[in-house]
């Protein structure tokens, strides 16, 4: 009995005091809690279904298409085949060791769900499992947030935090139905891991620490963002040690977590030996060592007098610090520990990536966040958040330190990189729930007023006023969330919503139109060259081989495609022929006014390839004489000659009968601006010209350059006659 845990003892101790009606109260409480959770779960799921209702059950955006494809591979092959999957249909001709370079947590989970449903007689299409995956897991996130917050404050705050978590747009943005991305499961695992961690460090229970480690392992298997946990937990311990709050519970919780968690995480092929070789993981190792020393110090302290201990401590601390730092530098210098990654540097210096690694800077979700986004994503929680953190400061228990550290770190990261908004959102919900429940604790507590027969009117009014204000905010929050979810976060971005002049909504389905064209009209082993953004979609929807995709593991290969896009066509042709490409796909938004098209992304292609071939590609050459990025007749010659320009605008002015108006850039394209295309021929252009497909022409069988062949085809016999009477200018034949 005694070993079953402290909570049991506490409850059994309480029950005798509240006799009789307490059982009824507990019943009501249980039913209420259950109902509330059911409601929260329902809200979480249903607010994520806008995308399915407004559009259809479809996988969204870019990365989810790869995850979906990988999941399909998993359910059609065995797990071991999946683990050893060599994918020859991406990164042609390099191929990708996909099984060893992905986080398999998402796919294995949905694969398991699919198998489970099949086993119990519910054969569901794997696509539907994938589409509904994120909403289903958001309910579990809410539950984990409840338990987490309950450990921080109480179950009232927990319920609020769970409700916030269920519908907050900052989280929904990555977990609507169809958004089948690693984050869909990772945030759930993040909260569960933290929840167990708080319990473990509170109780020192090895069971909880082991559970933390297991969920940490699950998290490692699901998302690269696990490094956040790897650093946050040691930081928590480190700060507690600095605060002089070391105790045996921390020791058992941390060492258990670190030992099991690290060993477990190394089982993921993609992670491998990173936990002992990468700088990102060194903090956890350092704190692990420090904890041993501190524990030893405590042991020594009990044995020797305090004066002697102080000397011992100062000397040993100085020694450890010097040795530790020197070792870290030496190991990094000699290459035993991998240096920090570029993404890590760009977290501290927002300009770092822009200068050194354009490929990281070119990703839109790596951009710094715009401040209004905080309000947009969290509404009134954003200003309750600091208040909550402040309230936690007042209490400052060990677990509060964790929340404070979490919120400070993440606030900074979210400011630097927009995608990290996602990791900030849970702590915003928790801190805001703490603040709000504190307010409600004070202002909704009428027990004092009830007891006193004399009614204090001003007191009652102020209580009612404050509580009703906040209840009003809560209502407003629900409306805001619903609106944001509906308007901003439910678009699959594969299908674009648009409004006609008479106000009807129409769906622009050019992407799928083009991808299905590819699927139906090209050879099964055709290779499609496109900018990496569309790689996953081509692989997922068109089922064709791509040269580069969103898994940007090989910068040179991407730069090569960028160079092909940025070079004059004879050079591009050479590059693409070397890569065996058959088709080139470009996205052109000029007709539709779709600003995320390739011409707007083009400068990144130039920059990335300039990084590798600085003497062939020069960004300046693509600007007009006045230094502007133009596409009309004042565009530079390099710009007009490059493949991207020619492909985007080929035949465009003729569509307007002479003067093509590019709606994205607001410029006029004349027929004389668009040079003829000799090495490629247009094979498909989608309904709204969003996707344009070109085929590489076959090599001229007479051995002429395709430009010469094209010139010859265009020439009339008369012009040929005169020119060719001259003696040709040939090299000596040897």
């Amino acid at each position: 009995m005694v070993t079953t845990g402290k909570s049991t003892i506490a409850e059994s101790a309480k029950t005798p005091v509240l006799t009789g009606k307490s059982s009824l109260v507990r019943w009501v409480q249980t039913v209420l809690t259950f109902t509330i959770f059911l409601a929260i779960f329902g809200a979480a799921v249903s607010s994520r279904l806008f995308s399915v209702i407004r559009f259809e059950s479809i996988i969204h955006e870019f990365d989810p298409w790869f995850n979906f494809r990988a999941t399909k591979y998993l359910v059609t092959h065995s797990f071991l085949e999946f683990l050893n999957w060599f994918d020859d249909r991406t990164w042609y001709p390099l191929g990708r060791v996909t099984g060893g370079t992905l986080y398999p947590g998402l796919m294995t989970t949905s694969g398991a769900v699919w198998h489970l449903l099949k086993r119990i007689g519910l054969p569901v299409d794997i696509r539907n499992v994938c589409v509904m995956f994120a909403p289903a897991f958001s309910g579990i996130t809410a539950l984990a947030t409840y338990h987490f917050t309950k450990e921080i404050k109480d179950s009232g705050a927990g319920l609020l935090a769970a409700a916030f978590m269920a519908i907050v747009p900052g989280y929904i943005s990555r977990s609507v139905a169809g958004s089948y991305d690693n984050e869909a499961i990772a945030i759930t695992l993040l909260m569960v891991t933290f929840m167990f961690w708080i319990k473990a460090q509170k109780t020192g229970s090895i069971l909880h620490a082991t559970l933390t480690a297991l969920f940490y392992f699950y998290m490692v298997s699901a998302w690269g963002g696990y490094v956040f946990i790897t650093n946050l937990i040691p930081l928590h311990i480190f700060i507690l040690i600095l605060m002089g709050r070391y105790n045996a519970k921390l020791y058992s919780a941390y060492t258990t977590w670190y030992a099991i968690g690290t060993l477990a995480s190394m089982q993921i092929p993609f992670v491998g030996f990173l936990p002992i070789r990468s700088n990102d993981h060194m903090a956890a190792l350092g704190v692990f060592g420090l904890l041993q020393l501190v524990a030893f110090g405590h042991f020594v302290k009990t044995k020797v007098s305090s004066d002697k201990f102080r000397v011992v401590m100062i000397v040993s601390l100085a020694l450890i610090l010097v040795v530790g730092v020197a070792a870290l530098f030496a190991l990094t210098y000699f290459g035993f520990i991998a240096p920090w990654t570029g993404r890590f540097y760009s977290l501290w210096d927002t300009n770092y990536a822009k200068i050194h690694i354009p490929i990281i800077a070119s990703v839109s979700e790596h951009q710094p966040v715009a401040w209004p986004a905080f309000f947009f994503d969290t509404h009134f929680l954003i200003w309750l958040f600091p208040a909550g953190v402040f309230l936690l400061f007042l209490d400052l228990k060990d677990e509060h330190v964790f929340v404070i550290v979490y919120s400070v770190l993440c606030s900074y990261f979210a400011g630097v990189m927009i995608r990290l908004m996602l990791t900030l959102t849970p702590v915003i919900c928790v801190a805001a729930a703490v603040a709000l429940s504190k307010i409600f604790d004070v202002y909704l507590d009428f027990s004092h007023t009830m007891k006193n027969k004399k009614v204090n009117v001003s007191n009652l009014v102020s209580r009612l006023l404050v509580s009703s204000t906040f209840i009003f905010y809560l209502v407003l929050f629900v409306f805001h969330c619903t609106w944001v979810n509906k308007m901003a976060y439910s678009s699959p971005s594969v299908v674009l919503p648009s409004t006609t002049y008479d106000g009807r909504t129409v769906l622009i389905d050019d992407f799928r139109e083009a991808y299905y064209w590819l699927r139906l009209n090209t050879e099964e082993d055709a290779k499609i060259a496109s900018w990496w953004d569309y790689g996953y979609q081509i692989g997922g929807m068109a089922d064709r081989t791509t040269l580069v995709d969103n898994n940007t593991w090989n910068n040179t290969h991407i730069a090569l495609v960028g160079k092909a896009m940025a070079s004059p066509e004879e050079k591009s042709y050479e590059i693409l022929k070397q890569l065996d490409a058959d088709y080139v796909l470009v996205i052109f938004g000029g007709l539709l006014g779709f600003s995320g098209d390739d011409v707007n992304k083009f400068l990144w292609m130039v920059r990335i390839s300039e990084g590798i071939w600085p003497d062939e590609i020069n960004e300046r050459n693509y600007f007009s004489a006045t230094g502007e990025y133009r596409v009309d007749s004042s565009a530079s010659q390099t710009m007009k000659e490059c493949l991207m320009y020619k492909m985007s605008y080929q035949g465009y002015p003729e569509l307007f009968g002479g003067q093509g108006i590019d709606k994205v850039r607001g410029q006029t394209i004349l027929p004389s601006d668009v040079l003829p295309l000799d090495y490629f021929e247009e094979v498909f252009t989608s309904e709204n010209w969003l996707v344009r497909l070109y085929q590489l022409k076959k090599e001229d069988s007479e051995g002429r350059s395709l430009k010469d062949a094209g010139d010859y085809e265009r020439s009339t016999t008369k012009s040929n006659k005169k020119k060719n009477f001259k003696k040709p200018d040939l090299d000596l034949r040897v």
Binding site: L80, N84, T717, N720
Partner: protein, 425 residues
């Protein structure tokens, strides 16, 4: 042994009339204002004796000469003899000729100094053959007459010159050739000659000019150009006849036609890629068969310069194939066993056999080579270096168990002391 067999075989076939690998419906365009058909009778009779089906059109006739009926090519071969004037016929422009050629039609084109129609000239220019324009003529002031000795023969695969062979012409134009690899010169102008016209710069000088040249496009259609109508004429047929017939045989695909067949690759133990996909460092064999058209049927093609490449962006292997087994009409060439590179990726297995005078034969197959699976690496106990790690792991485990045993067995003494201290308190 094999070569003896082949010579024997060829000798046997020598008596049988040779024929082209494809059908031989031939159109001859000539200009009756310049030459009568009778003056080519020797040449044409030789063709007919090899079952050529020949239609004749005179160029200045008003009849429409159709090379195509709708999309279909009407003729397999086209012989264009010198035509006076600018056009051959209004229906046969340079672009039509190019189209005909691209569709697989073989063309023997003959011009003479006074007759270089624009359509022929422009067509040849596209192939990198630049015949001297009308009015230019090959002059050799040292020799006096145009007698081209055996030292001027090029491209022995088309016509193998014997000592004492010579070509006599009364007049000829010469062409400049560019350095395209698909051009095979057949006959160069004498070193002491030049091509000139009155009051104009010479067109070609010395052996930079060519009297006959051949071209083969990537689809293996062939063109031969002869700089003088005298090559074909009966009056010079004694000295030139053999040469011209060899050129005609080449251009109409009677000889030097090869094909590569059934390229395959498989594991060294014979299992195919489909059964067991390749992984890095597997031992595999590549083989490819070659056949040659001997004028009557396909026979094994014997050579020693066929190369195989294993490429991924760059060649990882370039192996000269060794002759292997012979099966019927096919001679197989094999790499023997070789190890795939220690690099995963999508590789191209390729033989690209392009030799002067022969048809081009390309075989390409793209196959992925996968990385090692998790279970295919050497196990730790198989690696001698790992012994130190393994022994340290097991010694730690052992030490820990010993420690636990001691800890447990020694603990009653500790708890006793605690108890006693408690009691003392």
């Amino acid at each position: 042994m094999v070569s003896i067999f082949i010579t024997f075989f060829l000798a046997l076939c020598g008596n049988v009339y040779a024929a082209s690998v494809h059908a031989s419906k031939t159109l001859v365009l000539y200009d009756e204002r310049l030459d009568q058909l009778d003056s080519f009778s020797n040449f044409l009779d030789d063709l007919k004796s090899r079952e050529y089906e020949i239609d004749y059109y005179t160029a200045n006739s008003t009849a429409d000469i159709e090379l195509y009926e709708g999309e279909n090519r009407l003729y397999d071969n086209l012989i264009v003899l010198p035509v006076k004037g600018k056009h051959i016929n209004k229906l046969i422009s340079d672009k039509t000729l190019l189209q005909f050629y691209n569709d697989g039609g073989d063309i023997l084109s003959v011009t003479s100094p006074g007759a270089v129609p624009d359509s022929i000239r422009l067509f040849l220019n596209q192939l990198g053959i630049f015949p001297s324009p009308k009015g230019y003529e090959l002059v050799d002031n040292v020799q006096g007459s145009l007698k081209i000795g055996s030292s001027e023969y090029r491209g022995s695969r088309i016509y193998e010159a014997k000592d004492g062979d010579s070509i006599s012409l009364s007049s000829s134009s010469a062409a400049l050739l560019d350095n395209r690899e698909q051009i095979f010169p057949i006959l160069a102008a004498p070193r002491t000659s030049y091509t000139g016209a009155t009051s104009k710069d010479p067109w070609s000088v010395g052996s930079q000019g060519f009297l006959a040249a051949a071209f083969q496009n990537l689809k293996n259609a062939r063109v031969a150009w002869l700089g003088s109508v005298d090559f074909l004429k009966n009056e010079f047929y004694g000295s030139n006849g053999n040469f011209v017939q060899e050129v005609a045989k080449w251009v109409f695909q009677e000889k030097n036609v090869i094909k590569s067949v059934s390229a395959s690759h498989f594991h060294a133990d014979g299992t195919s890629y489909e059964e067991v996909p390749y992984k890095i460092k597997d031992t595999v064999i590549y083989e490819v068969g070659f056949s040659e058209w001997n004028g009557e049927k396909w026979v094994p093609f014997i050579t020693d310069d066929i190369q195989f490449e294993l490429k991924m962006l760059d060649p990882y292997y370039r192996l000269t194939l060794k002759p292997g087994r012979q099966e019927g009409e096919v001679q197989y060439y094999t790499t023997g066993e070789f190890n795939l590179p220690d690099h995963h990726g999508v590789f191209t297995f390729e033989t690209d056999y392009k030799r002067d005078g022969f048809s081009f034969a390309v075989q390409r197959d793209v196959k992925p080579i996968r990385n090692l699976a998790h279970s295919e690496y050497a196990r730790s106990w198989d690696i001698s270096n790992a012994v130190i790690y393994l022994s340290s792991i097991f010694s730690v485990i052992f030490a820990w168990i010993i420690f636990i045993i001691f800890f447990i067995t020694a603990s009653p003494a500790v708890s006793k002391s605690v108890n006693t201290s408690k009691k003392n308190n």
